[in-house]
């Protein structure tokens, strides 16, 4: 079963240094926070979509499409409860709060997509290396990347386990959301047990190969910033600077919006 998150392509985006990709991720994160008005968020959204396209990561995004859909719909509805405006639409929905909700949804979508792009194009070790080179302790970097590594393992065992239960007559495909969730609960027991078991072996294997044996450690993987990295970084620094300037100058706000 193919549950890996990393997509082994050789796109220009894959070839970027992990540090560049982490910084780009942070730049978008900051940039997207600078605007409320969805119209002002369109450039950022386009920037994200271009990256998604160049890095060929759409496949991974597609895998979480249901999560994205549920998230987007609830975001578009729920933000209306936390804001109001001057032009009523119906019930708690105002034109301004609706704009605001759409803006927040673009924000969430952009950040999630950037996260997916980052892990789809960066090997685990590169991610650790990137984080270490940016000043994080090795163990912290390792812990973060290990938790990412667990995702495909847990997904794979969930798949096997749901197959095992379906073979026994558990019908996971019918019923409403509540019924389905209820039916899924028993599956979690074996998922947890097998995950704990795997983690245990993983821990033993790590220690048996000398994890943390010495204070200092060499890194076999070498990373080199190239001209492309600097070009991309320059572009994104300008993007962040412009976004912050626009924000300070008062652009991108929704007139008449009151947040609670």
């Amino acid at each position: 079963m193919d549950a890996e998150l990393y997509l082994d392509y050789n796109t220009p985006y894959h070839r970027l240094d992990a540090r560049t990709k982490i910084i780009v991720f942070l730049c978008i994160f900051v940039g997207v926070l600078m605007f409320q008005d969805p119209r002002w968020l369109i450039p950022t959204l386009l920037l994200v979509l271009v990256q998604l396209f160049v890095s060929r990561s759409a496949r991974n995004l597609q895998r979480i499409r249901y999560v994205l859909l549920v998230m987007s719909i609830s975001s578009i509805v729920l933000w209306n409860f936390f804001a109001s405006g001057t032009t009523p639409l119906f019930w708690v929905f105002d034109v301004e709060s609706m704009y605001y909700a759409i803006g927040r949804t673009i924000l969430i979508f952009s950040i999630v997509t950037m996260g997916v792009i980052l892990i789809s194009t960066t090997r685990n070790e590169e991610l650790i290396m990137g984080m270490i080179k940016m000043g994080l302790p090795y163990r912290v970097g390792f812990a973060i990347s290990t938790s990412l590594r667990l995702v495909p393992t847990v997904a794979a065992s969930l798949m096997t386990i749901s197959q095992a239960q379906r073979s026994r007559g558990l019908d996971l495909e019918s019923g409403n959301i509540v019924q389905r969730v209820k039916k899924f609960l028993p599956l979690l027991v074996p998922v947890f047990i097998s995950s704990i078991r795997n983690t245990n072996i993983f821990g033993m294997a790590l220690e048996s190969r000398g994890f943390g044996a010495r204070e200092e450690r060499t890194y076999y993987l070498q990373m080199q910033m190239t001209k492309a990295d600097w070009a991309v970084l320059t572009f994104f620094f300008i993007y962040v600077a412009v976004s912050i300037w626009l924000n300070v100058a008062g652009y991108g706000k929704i007139v008449g919006l009151v947040r609670f």
């Binding site: 095992a164 379906r166 026994r168 558990l170 033993m204 220690e207 044996a213 010495r214 450690r217 076999y220």
Partner: protein, 574 residues
């Protein structure tokens, strides 16, 4: 005098929260360059002893340790596991869980990195060790794309990259197909030539441990016997009494009264030795007896072919969403009441094929019908009533707090009345040999116990067909036998049985018919005898008959069991 590589003194260990010692009073010394194999039934303490050597016990698994383990002069009590890693390498049975890097070379680099080995030196070690295990061409591949055997080889390379003086392997081949197994043993054999490396291997497979210098037999946490490999293996009665698999060849020769006391007449152990001994002993195979035996089998085969097939595959194809073709035009028939084995290399498509039989997977090409209707129109819920599927790992299946809840899950889902459910549970638990365990917690049972619970849970809906995916993996010989004897009883009571396995002796002993899958295609098919007579073709599919069958193939006939050869043997006492 040089100090021994491993010295174990009066070692007793008890896991925290348990009442019994896992190992007790172990004394064992391994000199440098020694190759010792540790054998014993499930729960004998083999893994416990193995993990004592690199300090996982007592540092990782907490508990009460008495005595001492000294490895290369270091007491494991005073050094962390990571510190010991330079001296002791440990390879685990589970080849999935012990690899964690995204490329083969980084996997090997991980150990030396931790010991601050200079980068250029790491590069050299990667080359050297990947070449050693034969994975040099795979250095940039993600480990997840390797086959099971290759993963285990990678695990060995990753450990060897630390240049350990002692290498411990805990059942490295249990989950592998016969040829991948051989690949690992081939590496082991080369390793043993290295005088600087001491090897300790925990192993189930008696046929493969002939190469060892010594064998230590372990039972209930105590050493039963330590001695030269051939001497221990010749003692088939002792091995069998410990619940281990005795070699078929010495067992046969003992049964026909081979005179072990005569000068230069050592009880043969390998197929080559056996052939010589058989011919020298003046024994012959009676063609008439053999042909009569084959004729009986052919008659049975004819009677099956006269029936309507229960499962019928025609040009079955299956591709995963990512485009990988797992099945490529398989056509086969399975008849009601049969007992069939599906064999093949790791990743050949066996499990994918079996998952079509109960509708878990639907073909992307060709057709499959069960009981005359396609699996698609029947759906998994209805098919589940007809075709039960026991997954490889019982822990993927079991989730209830009591055996009763677990076994009654299927009947309850299918809306049976309460009294009938109760009767069903009692009946199925009896069938799997677990009567009276209704109130027990399945998670606290042994692996073979959980395996039986899983089978019972599937049997409880009374399917006509039972599919078992690797029912004997992770069990010791005695447990394997009793599991398969149970499966055979179910077959005799009318169930159609399809099992997937890597254990060739299980196939030889229990299957009537065999399908060999290779690269998603049906490579060979026939009665068990026919299939095992094609030794060369089997080799292409990474399979190999058990030693005993290899021996009879050398004699020109295929006998599945010692009893058959005894029946067909004439002459002797020349």
């Amino acid at each position: 005098m040089t100090e021994p590589a491993v010295a174990i003194h009066d070692l007793t260990y008890r896991y925290r929260g348990t009442k019994q010692n896992a190992i007790e009073g172990i004394n064992l010394v391994l000199e440098r360059g020694d190759f010792l194999v540790l054998m014993g039934p499930s729960g004998a303490g083999k893994s416990t002893l193995a993990t004592c050597i690199n300090g996982l016990i007592p540092h990782f698994h907490k508990g009460k340790l008495e005595g001492a383990v000294i490895v290369c002069g270091k007491n494991t009590r005073d050094h962390t596991v990571a510190q010991m890693a330079e001296d002791v390498g440990l390879v685990f049975q589970d080849f999935e869980a012990q690899l964690f890097s995204t490329s083969v070379e980084l996997e090997v680099a991980f150990g030396p990195e931790n010991f601050a080995v200079p980068r250029e030196e790491i590069a050299t070690r990667i080359d050297e060790n990947l070449t050693y295990v034969g994975l040099a061409d795979f250095r940039n591949r993600p480990p997840s794309t390797l086959s099971g055997g290759q993963k285990q080889k990678l695990a060995i390379a990753a450990v060897l990259a630390l240049h350990p003086k002692v290498l411990v392997m805990d059942e490295p081949t249990t989950d592998l197909d016969p040829i991948s197994k051989m690949g690992i043993f081939e590496i082991t054999n080369r390793l043993r030539q290295r005088s600087d490396l001491t090897l300790l291997v925990v192993e189930h497979e008696t046929e493969e441990v002939l190469q060892a210098d010594r064998i230590a037999l372990l039972k209930d946490g105590r050493l039963v016997k330590v001695g030269p490999a051939r001497e221990i293996l010749r003692d088939v009665d002792l091995i069998e009494s410990l619940g281990l698999m005795p070699l078929g060849i010495p067992r046969f020769f003992k049964a026909i009264g081979f005179d072990d006391t005569a000068a230069a007449a050592e009880l043969p152990l390998t197929p080559a030795e056996a052939e010589v001994a058989y011919r020298r002993g003046g024994w012959r195979i009676s063609s008439a007896a053999y042909e009569a035996m084959v004729a009986r089998e052919t008659a049975v085969e004819q009677s099956f072919r006269a029936k309507t097939p229960l499962i019928h595959c025609c040009d079955l194809e299956f591709s995963y969403p990512n485009g990988v073709k797992a099945l490529d035009g398989i056509s086969l028939d399975i008849y009601p009441g049969d007992i069939v084995a599906i064999v093949g290399q790791n990743g050949s498509g066996k499990t994918t094929l079996a998952k079509h039989f109960n509708g878990l997977l639907l073909p992307t090409g060709g057709t499959i019908t069960v009981n005359g209707k396609t699996t698609k129109e029947q759906g998994i819920f209805r098919l589940g009533q007809l075709v039960g599927y026991v997954f490889q790992n019982p822990d993927h299946q079991i989730f209830s707090e009591t055996v009763y809840d677990e076994v009654s899950f299927g009947p309850r889902l299918r809306g049976l009345p309460a009294d009938q459910i109760k009767a069903r549970v009692t009946e199925t638990l009896k069938a799997v040999g677990l009567e009276g365990t209704e109130e027990e917690d399945p998670f606290s049972m042994t692996k073979s116990g959980r395996q039986r619970v899983a089978v019972a849970a599937v049997l409880a809906v009374q399917p006509d067909v039972l599919i078992l995916d690797e029912p004997t993996t992770g069990l010791d010989y005695r447990e394997q036998r009793s599991m398969m004897d149970m499966v055979r009883r179910l077959n005799e009571n009318g169930s159609t049985i399809i099992f997937i396995t890597h254990h060739m002796w299980v196939v030889a002993e229990y299957a009537r018919k065999v399908f060999v899958i290779k690269d998603g295609r049906l490579f060979l098919e026939g009665t068990t005898r026919e299939v095992f007579s094609h030794e060369r073709e089997l080799l292409e599919a990474s399979l190999r008959p058990p030693h005993f069958i290899q021996f009879t193939n050398r004699l020109g006939r295929t006998m599945l069991r010692p009893a058959e050869l005894i029946e067909c043997t004439e002459g002797g006492a020349a």
